[in-house]
């Protein structure tokens, strides 16, 4: 187990890409994930030592005390030993105390943190089977792809995420950034991340929430400050108007699409499904289930079950012409 940790640990091998996996819990890139990583090394060291000792004793016992061909008499019957019993009670108690103290400190470090003045505040609302993100003080509403600024350890700019749910239980888990925290309806939670390096961090929902729990993926884009500010700027604009796509816009606005979806600056203001105002600024659709390409977008609108069977978006029964028009319209929503 310890060897495995060492192999998986970025720190040990000083490799810029996390070994084995982009979701490796032993490749922390953010303060809470680092705290947990440090604790985990201590716990692994202690449990590893216990394992080595007891395992060796067991192997020794099994090898040394096999019945050999002898006089067939029973071995000496030993019923117990007070000294030995006391020793192997007291030593485990001491070990437990040490583990507990190390653990309690990290619980406090992570749970007692509160947003500083320059922290970014996000509200994440879990839905079956997508993520809604709102930045209340920045006026941004988006879905599925979370953008946050990178945090310089010298002058931290963490992101605090309030976790709510519109329906069932979900869980926000991006292993390289933090431990997971659940999104439970009627029970607001919060978590925070403090990513030290720009890049794309992956995760997914970690609390069974229904049929498509498996494809409620997480993508967190950690960006340098200027890039993040530009992203915020573009997200707060209303939808781009493009008269070439007016046929598609007409179909969109007269079919049931607007019951679930919103496009800022138009009549569409449904909140059940993801906000589509800047759909084309995202790399994926359907909470990461498919790349945001023309073909996938068209397929998704025609038959969501082809990409994510059991998702709550209904097949809209549009004709081919209407499909082409709506897809073209959506592709103008940068």
């Amino acid at each position: 187990m310890v060897l495995l940790v060492l192999c998986c640990s970025r720190e040990v091998l000083a490799d810029p890409t996390p070994l084995f996996s982009p979701t490796n819990i032993f490749a922390p890139a953010s303060t809470p994930a680092h705290s947990i990583f440090g604790l985990s090394l201590f716990v692994l060291a202690v449990t590893g030592a216990i394992f080595a000792i007891v395992f060796s004793l067991l192997v020794y016992a099994v090898a040394k005390f096999r019945r050999r061909n002898d006089d067939g008499r029973e071995p000496p019957q030993v019923y117990g030993s007070n000294q030995v019993e006391v020793a192997w009670t007291v030593i485990p108690i001491l070990i437990v105390v040490a583990l507990f103290m190390a653990t309690a400190r990290v619980i406090a470090d992570i749970q007692k943190a509160s947003p500083s003045a320059n922290a970014v505040e996000v509200v994440a609302i879990g839905h079956q089977f997508w993520w809604e993100y709102r930045y209340p003080s920045l006026g941004v509403v988006t879905a599925n792809e979370l953008h946050v600024p990178v945090s310089d350890p010298g002058h931290p700019t963490p992101t605090f995420i309030k976790l709510l749910s519109a329906d069932t239980d979900h869980s926000f888990w991006v292993p390289r950034l933090a431990g997971k925290t659940d999104l439970i309806p009627n029970h607001p939670n919060s978590t925070w991340i403090d990513p030290h390096e720009a890049g794309l961090y992956l995760g997914q929902c970690a609390q069974y929430c229904g049929t498509q729990h498996a494809k409620m993926l997480l993508r967190v884009y950690v960006q340098p400050r200027e890039e993040f500010n530009r992203w915020v700027q573009s997200q707060t604009q209303p939808a781009h108007m493009n008269s070439d796509a007016s046929e598609g816009q007409r179909v969109f606005e007269t079919t049931a699409c607007i019951d679930c979806h919103a496009v800022a600056g138009t009549v569409a203001n449904g909140r059940f499904g993801p906000d589509l105002t800047h759909l084309m600024s995202r790399e994926t659709i359907a909470a990461g289930a498919a790349a945001n390409t023309h073909d996938n977008l068209r397929l998704w609108i025609r038959k969501p079950d082809a990409i994510k069977p059991g998702s709550l978006m209904p097949a809209m029964e549009l004709s081919d012409r209407e499909l082409d028009a709506v897809t073209a319209y959506l592709e103008t929503l940068r």
Partner: protein
């Protein structure tokens, strides 16, 4: 000759028509027959639960597989977990307890034989009700479907909004019904152990098997009650306009979790303590030594029982409890490692200085020791709350609890099958097939559950019907699935051994293992009345005293 009638020599009994034999079994109140009914029932469901697991693993053998749809997959893991816990492990443990406790304490039957029968049939009916959901749970979709809410059925996924149709109701009612069976058995075990020991057998002199099942039975009563309450509240929510767990109306999803885990955690001690009981009987006999530290083993088990009632929210470290609550549950969870570790050391000390015979029961118990050690240590990792925030709800947890339940509990159950099969059937099993079962299952177990820890460490959550390539999970899932086939083969060999040996095995005699507790003083299988004369005993190992009159235990205890 029929085992349950006394016959004079040189007389013939009339042949019993099959219908009569069936009637005898269906209406029996004999603890031995009910024990066997429980055990066979559990074996059948073991095969069904195993098929469900195989479907799960085939679907997960590679990313984006389409062996089954997400809807079917979600039903598979729900049914697999519910079946294995409620209709395999609990019944088999109740079966062995029912069979062995009266024999071990020198009694003729359990305290309440009719309650015993009632409890078995309630449990059996619960299992049938759960599986009836496959055809009966018509919902809006118009076809039968099994529950798909996970074995812990978190709210509000179980509300009528998110679980349409009746599949969740079948889950709820099946467990409600079998819960009454569990409580009946628990009451029976407690009354029997407290009131029906033979003369000379004080509590301090009864076999550890009886002590540990006494603790288990107490936990059943403490644990099943909150589950039953929660299920009634869920039914009120779903059908009588209640809002206990209805978050859209101000109810609490977290309170379901508390109720469920107040049941769920003691439940795992209900499962593991009888496994400890098997190990505590088998390891001494095959090491040819008395158990090391009997009083401490009893005390440690009682400690585990008490502390085990206070750790439940370690299943909820990620739900957003306060740091004070999280910290409390860390300390209680780690505290329980102390008495549990002590037991491992005591078993080790029992083997130390002994003359170990590696017959099949002992092979399984030795593997149990190694595997339970690992399972306990991964449990400590999970008990450290911040580490749990990464490891929780991932395949690391799935690996941990299968390590306990399969690597710990199921291995000792196999040991118990082989150890007491001669007593129950009068025949010896095939040692060759037994060893073949052991090695096949050992290899399969380790292929599957050792490597299953790794995807958890690499970020793979549980209960997902498929996963993305490029996350480093693929090869580990492949290895995990391959292990399933070795385990399946092992089970086939096991069942074949049982069946073949029942019909063709050598006569076992009353004491094939040269053991020391009272059940080995009866014929194999025992007559209906168990003992011609109720014995009077003087020590924890009455047969040791008889076999070693110059060196009896009661001089040293």
């Amino acid at each position: 000759m029929s085992a349950d009638s006394i016959t004079w020599p040189r007389t013939e009994t009339a042949a019993h028509p099959f219908v009569d034999k069936l009637h005898e079994w269906v209406t029996t109140v004999d603890h031995k027959r009910l024990g066997i009914l429980y055990i066979i029932y559990a074996l059948v469901f073991l095969l069904i639960g195993g098929i469900e697991a195989t479907v799960i693993r085939i679907q997960l053998i590679r990313p984006h597989n389409d062996f089954v749809s997400p809807q079917v997959f979600n039903r598979m893991f729900t049914m697999h977990g519910t079946t294995m816990i409620f209709f395999v492990v609990m019944p088999v443990l109740f079966g062995f307890a029912n069979y062995l406790i009266p024999l071990m304490i020198g009694a003729r039957d359990m305290a309440f034989p009719r309650l015993n029968a009632f409890s078995f049939w309630m449990t059996a009916f619960g299992g049938l009700l759960l599986y009836f959901s496959l055809v009966g749970a018509n919902g809006l979709y118009g076809a039968g479907n099994a529950p798909d809410v996970g074995w812990f059925a978190y709210a509000p996924l179980t509300s009528r909004t998110f679980s349409v149709g009746h599949s969740t109701d079948f889950w709820t009612l099946a467990l409600l019904v079998s819960g009454f069976g569990s409580i009946g058995t628990a009451v029976n075990i407690i009354a029997t152990v407290l009131c029906m020991r033979c003369p000379g057998m004080t509590l301090a002199k009864m076999p550890l098997f009886a002590w540990l099942n006494l603790v288990m039975a107490s936990l059943v009563i403490l644990a099943v009650s909150p589950l039953t309450a929660a299920q009634l509240m869920l039914l009120v929510d779903r059908y009588l306009g209640g809002h206990f767990f209805d978050t859209q109306a101000g109810g609490s999803a977290v309170i379901w979790m508390h109720f469920f885990w107040v049941f769920g955690h003691p439940e795992v001690y209900v499962l593991v303590i009888p496994a400890f009981a098997f190990a505590s009987e088998i390891i001494p006999v095959f090491s040819r030594k008395a158990i090391f530290g009997y009083p401490v083993m009893v005390a440690a088990t009682i400690c585990i029982g008490f502390i085990g009632m206070s750790v439940w929210a370690h299943h909820m470290f990620t739900v957003g409890m306060s740091s004070a609550a999280n910290t409390f549950f860390v300390i209680s969870t780690m505290a329980i490692a102390v008495p549990t570790g002590i037991k491992i050391f005591n078993w080790l000390a029992t083997m130390w200085g002994g003359k170990i015979e590696f017959k099949t029961p002992m092979l399984f118990c030795v593997a149990f020791l190694f595997q339970f050690l690992v399972a306990g240590l991964t449990g400590i990792m999970l008990g450290s709350a911040p580490f749990n925030w990464q490891l929780g709800n991932s395949y690391f947890v799935v690996a941990h609890f299968h390590y306990v339940i399969v690597g710990g509990i199921l291995f000792t159950i196999f040991g118990a099958f082989y150890y007491w099969f001669p007593k129950m059937s009068g025949k010896m099993y095939s040692e060759t097939l037994g060893k073949l079962h052991f090695w096949l299952f050992l290899i399969g177990f380790h292929l599957t559950f050792d490597f299953m820890h790794i995807p958890g460490l690499l970020g793979m959550p549980r209960r997902i019907y498929t996963y993305e390539p490029g996350r480093g999970w693929d090869v580990w899932n492949l290895i995990v699935t391959i292990g399933v086939f070795f385990q399946a083969l092992g089970i086939v060999v096991f069942v074949a051994n049982l069946v073949w040996s029942y019909f063709k095995g050598e006569t076992a005699g009353s004491d094939p293992w040269d053991a020391w507790t009272l059940e080995w003083s009866t014929p194999s299988p025992p007559p209906a009345y168990n003992f011609a004369v109720i014995p009077t005993i003087k020590s924890r190992r009455p047969l040791w005293d008889l076999k070693h009159p110059a060196d009896p235990d009661w001089k040293y205890e």
